[in-house]
């Protein structure tokens, strides 16, 4: 495309902060405008216009995640009413693939960020712990479409999962001990061994690579 000589300063700042290239940011900006219908901000209703998203069983949680202030790296808590392009990019950056030139520390931070994003998806009341009820909610949502499945089965799956988590995190519990909930540290422990960095990413294309292929 006939692109500009100089990249504007805000663009460069965005690129530095989120790790996208300027072309990717341009593409995402166009997508943002499409979703927001040329407004400056997106609201929850705008996500209704994505047919592909309708398929997703945890659609509600995903849309929620976009407006979650914890994901937006804001100090306050709760849900935002609307997000601007910068916030949109921040959320999308959680799904960036790892880069070749990342060192140990960067990789670790990257991994923690992705896991925190997932943790926030489970922890819907924002108290820093995934309780049994919240876990049950997630399982139910994932399995909700099946009419043959009774609520009990979903609950038993969730309960079993929680018990397993407790045994990983706390070890043997006495009969009177109550497992309060999965904290973020426990969550990290559970994910040890699963390489989330290579699985939890969306491959954003670079325009340069497309053109060079011919």
């Amino acid at each position: 495309m006939g692109s500009a000589h100089s990249v504007p300063a805000e663009m460069r700042e965005l690129a530095d902060r989120t790790g996208f290239t300027s072309e990717q940011i341009e593409h995402l900006h166009r997508r943002f405008k499409q979703l927001s219908q040329d407004q400056l901000t997106i609201r929850k209703e705008n996500f209704d216009s994505i047919p592909d998203l309708e398929f997703n069983p945890i659609r509600g949680k995903i849309v929620h995640a976009f407006f979650d202030k914890r994901n937006l790296r804001q100090e306050s808590d709760g849900l935002a009413e609307e997000i601007n392009f910068e916030d949109f990019l921040t959320i999308m950056s959680y799904f960036r693939p790892i880069e070749m030139n990342m060192d140990e520390e960067q990789l670790d931070r990257f991994r923690k960020e992705k896991l925190k994003f997932l943790f926030h998806m489970y922890d819907s009341d924002h108290d820093g712990k995934i309780t049994l009820q919240e876990y049950r909610n997630v399982v139910e949502e994932l399995l909700s479409g099946n009419p043959h499945l009774e609520k009990e089965s979903a609950r038993s799956i969730a309960d079993g999962a929680m018990m397993e988590a407790a045994s990983i995190c706390v070890g043997q519990m006495g009969p009177d001990q109550v497992y309060e909930g999965i904290t973020f540290e426990d969550f990290l422990k559970m994910w040890q061994g699963i390489d989330i960095e290579t699985k939890m990413h969306v491959r954003f294309l670079n325009v340069d690579t497309i053109a060079h292929c011919y």
Partner: protein, 421 residues
Amino acid sequence: MEENREGHGLAEGKILSVWIFLFVAFVLLPSIFRVSLGICHCYVKIVIKMLEWATLQIEEGVKKQKAMALENLISTGIIQRDETPMEKEVVGRCRGCFSLADVMYFSKKGCEAVAEDEVTRRFSSEELLSWNLLSRTNANLHHVSWKLAAVWVTGILIRYCLLLPFRVKGWLSNQVQMICATLGVRCLSGLVHFHNRENKPQKGGICVANHTSPLDVLILASDGCYSLVGQVHGGLMGLIQKSCMRTSQHVLFERSEMKDRHLVRKKLREHIADKAKLPILIFPEGTCINNTSVMMFKKGSFEVGGTIHPVAIKYDPRFGDAFWNSTKHSIMTYGFNVLTSWAIVCNVWYLPPMVKEEEEDAVHFADRVKAVIAARAGMSVLPWDGGLKRKKIKESFKEEQQKKYCQIVIENGSVGSGNVC
């Protein structure tokens, strides 16, 4: 003062008569006798040369080393989707378990959908990697060089002052449908290549084509007479419709009436049963698509029986975007855009006739025809319904996905293992 005015009047009168003479000689007469003077061909060649030069200018200005051939002008989207099917990802370590990784899989899919989805991509105009000097198609209008700017300005002058009035004058109403259509195509500097004319639709058949714009009708009508089935439009489009459709052989519906499928089918059956009537032209997608893919064909026209003559229409995006986004532009804006493009260049392929087989159901037959059309025109095939441009997806599709996931997790009713893997 008086003399001056008279002088002006005379000069204007002369110019007018010269215009009319030129118009009759170069546009009207050849259209009546369906002869091509090759003017369009020359014009298109000139436009191509200019676009190539303009591209070179842009590249020099930007100082990039890429040699982008003009052929590769279609962008492929911003993400590369992960095509791993749900089964493979979710199964992971052990079948029949509920794994935390499943949430990760679905959140990844969700992010992909937000970044881009196949359906809405078909409803935005095709992006060009090079700029075809129409400011509409370039998202960043940057000043690259003085030369380029000069060419662009001249281009505007030519298009708006020379070609536009010429074309507007050209749009007079005409009694004979084919002359009118040919005239229309010529006036839009339309260069249409018809292929395989031996497969042209016969009387009593149904002609089926992919839909990109109202111009599709014009283009097909310039090469043969058809009966049209279409939606009744209001406003300016409705007036045009009424004036162009004087003959009684056309079948028009309201979109709301389309819901009464029996009525539609009855009328269609009556029409094709009468072998003397013109072939019916139907666009089974039901709405305009942006010409990069073929969407779901509605099965109505395939249930009626009779011979189907598929036709593939592919526009060349370099010369102007023929796609009509009816949710974004009104017919006036669209018409204006078309009139001020360089040209409309397209290829029309007449494909061999197809008939529904004994055991086939209408949906399968429709898919078969769709695949043939898409293959010929070099477009991708999508199972999506074009109606998604306007309405939301059905609940049943969402439930399908959830059911599939449930089956994997539950695994033959052995619930309760619930291990975290």
